[in-house]
């Protein structure tokens, strides 16, 4: 029982990360019909911004050495700038393009960022010691919970609450929800399409920045492709949750976290190497049963 609870906490912590990444992907999909594979590379940028650019194997902290109240906003700001640049230089000229075209463009952005990181930092993975104190364990009853998992969960709850309040209570939030449901109609009512899309990119950048910090603290290493599997799992989470629904993205994120963690814990050891194959098998099964996802969005494909 204790073991199961322990696994459940692992699943929730991993699911939180996937949910945050999936929210970033889902937000842009909702409003722009863009499946942004470069989102993972936004995370990579945030992580590499922590250290001094050089090809040395041992990383020296740059922004990562600053006190956290300055460091966290700074990392988020850098990722937001990258996200806004990607919009201005690549996606804005493609506003009238179809969804598949946008997705291909996001692959291009992804490769450009990865190669930029390669040029500035070299190809070898780097060890980084960021907040290693957060990996100490806290005892809750008989459960041993890494501090970092509690932080991850708390941060996820705070960000989701903030995003919900933004979408429900602010003028731009309401306009964003309207634009996600019917972009053209929102424009007819005077909603500035490019402003709303820019805000969506900025929020997606903030989410990517926070994930880069949580993920780097946990893994303790950097590589120029570190964001790719995160984006892939998040994309699967968005599909499982229901394309175009933000609640769906969160639910999907936690579902994927749960599946991956439980397979890791309960698969026979000789099969554990194939964990991801089983995980994606599960995803296919889920989609066969609920093709529109766990929380289907209304009117996802009605946009003209």
């Amino acid at each position: 029982m204790i073991q199961f609870l322990q696994n459940l906490i692992d699943a929730i912590a991993l699911g939180s990360i996937y949910a945050l990444v999936a929210l970033g992907v889902g937000l842009l999909f909702g409003i722009l019909r863009l499946i942004n594979f470069a989102h993972g590379d936004f995370i990579t940028i945030g992580a590499y911004a922590l250290i001094v650019p050089s090809a040395d194997v041992t990383a020296r902290l740059l922004i990562g050495g600053w006190p956290w109240p300055v460091m966290i906003p700074m990392i988020c700001l850098i990722v937001v700038i990258v996200a806004l640049l990607a919009d201005a230089l690549v996606f804005r000229p493609l506003r009238r393009a179809t969804s598949p075209t946008l997705m291909i463009a996001s692959f291009a952005v992804s490769y450009i960022i990865q190669n930029g990181v390669l040029m500035a930092y070299g190809s070898r993975p780097k060890a980084v010691d960021l907040w290693s104190g957060a990996n100490t364990q806290v005892l809750i009853g008989d459960l041993r919970v890494p501090m970092l998992q509690l932080i991850t969960l708390a941060v996820t709850l705070v960000l989701m609450t903030a995003l919900t309040l933004f979408l429900k209570r602010t003028a731009y939030g309401v306009q964003m929800r309207a634009a996600a449901e019917d972009f053209r109609m929102a424009q007819y009512l005077g909603v500035r399409g490019n402003v709303v899309i820019g805000i969506a990119f900025a929020i997606s950048g903030i989410l990517a920045g926070v994930v880069s910090l949580l993920y780097t603290t946990q893994s303790g290493s950097l590589s120029h492709t570190m964001g790719v599997p995160l984006a892939l799992f998040a994309f699967v989470a968005v599909v499982v949750g229901g394309m175009g629904s933000l609640v769906g993205a969160v639910v999907g994120g936690f579902a994927i976290g749960l599946i991956v963690t439980m397979l890791q814990a309960y698969l026979p050891p000789e099969l554990r190497a194939f964990r991801d194959a089983f995980a994606f098998g599960f995803v296919i099964l889920m989609l066969l049963v609920r093709p529109a996802g766990l929380v289907p969005a209304r009117s996802t494909f009605e946009r003209v």
Binding site: Q175, R177, A178, E181, Y188, G190, G193
Partner: protein
């Protein structure tokens, strides 16, 4: 009085499909103008083009004498044109109140928008009762009212209304026209309305255009067309047509 909107010989096509050929029309400040025509005549395309939703490949559209070609829909909206599209396009997951607020943001003045909303809700008691409902749960007639009210929240000079009576019961249609004409007085609105059938609109319109096959077949003051014979010819395109048939050589 000068023309508020002038459409000057526009051609619009979607891929290979030609939707409008050399369509010209104008609406003067304070007028009620109606475009009638059968399904597929190009009525919706005409309104969409005026609202900036589709770009003509030839011709010009001017608002207050200035060309609006190349403007995005949100820029055209800021010139005082507001579209109530066919099929209403209510934001179904937003509440009724949020739908109305979307229209008000364009003013950039919260207090004024709030006052506008209160004045409008006095005209739409059904909406006032359902402010916190998801708009998708409203009936068709209520959604049409909401679409009109939402468009008026942008404080337009010209309201473009695309087939307001589509799919609604006659009693509801009468209510909607009553409200449109009432709003015209209160908010000094100019109206350009699309309809498939002419009998109701002839009472209210100042001028009428009949559109068929993407061309203007007939235009004139509603008072001159009341007997309906010329409209029938233009609309159906048979009998002694008052204009040349569609594919006649020029």
């Amino acid at each position: 009085m000068g023309a508020l909107v002038e459409v000057d010989g526009i051609h619009v096509r979607y891929g290979d499909l030609v939707a409008l050929r050399d369509v010209s029309l104008s609406v003067a400040e304070g007028e009620v103008v109606c475009i009638i025509g059968p399904n597929g005549a190009g009525k919706s395309t005409a309104l969409t083009a005026i609202a900036g939703g589709v770009a003509p490949y030839a011709g010009d559209i001017r608002v207050g004498g200035v060309s609006v070609l190349g403007l995005r829909p949100e820029q055209v909206a800021r010139l005082g044109l507001s579209l109530v599209p066919e099929g209403r396009h209510i934001f179904g997951t937003l509440t009724v109140e949020e739908n109305l607020r979307i229209g008000g943001y364009i003013q950039g003045d919260r207090a004024a928008a709030k006052a506008d909303m209160e004045r409008l809700l006095a005209l739409f008691p059904r909406l006032a009762e359902r402010l916190r409902y998801p708009a998708g749960r409203l009936s068709g007639g209520e959604q049409q009212m909401l679409a009109v009210a939402r468009a008026v929240m942008t404080r337009p000079r010209l309201l473009l209304v695309d087939e307001p009576s589509l799919g609604l019961a006659p009693r509801i249609i009468d209510q909607i026209y009553e409200i449109l004409l009432d709003l015209r007085q209160r908010a000094a609105l100019t109206l350009l309305i699309n309809e498939q059938s002419s009998n109701r609109i002839l009472k209210h319109a100042d001028r009428i255009y009949v559109l068929r096959g993407g061309r203007v077949q007939l235009e004139g003051p509603a008072a001159d067309l009341r007997d309906g014979e010329a409209i029938r010819h233009a609309y159906f395109g048979f009998g002694e047509a008052p204009v040349a048939p569609l594919d006649a050589p020029a």
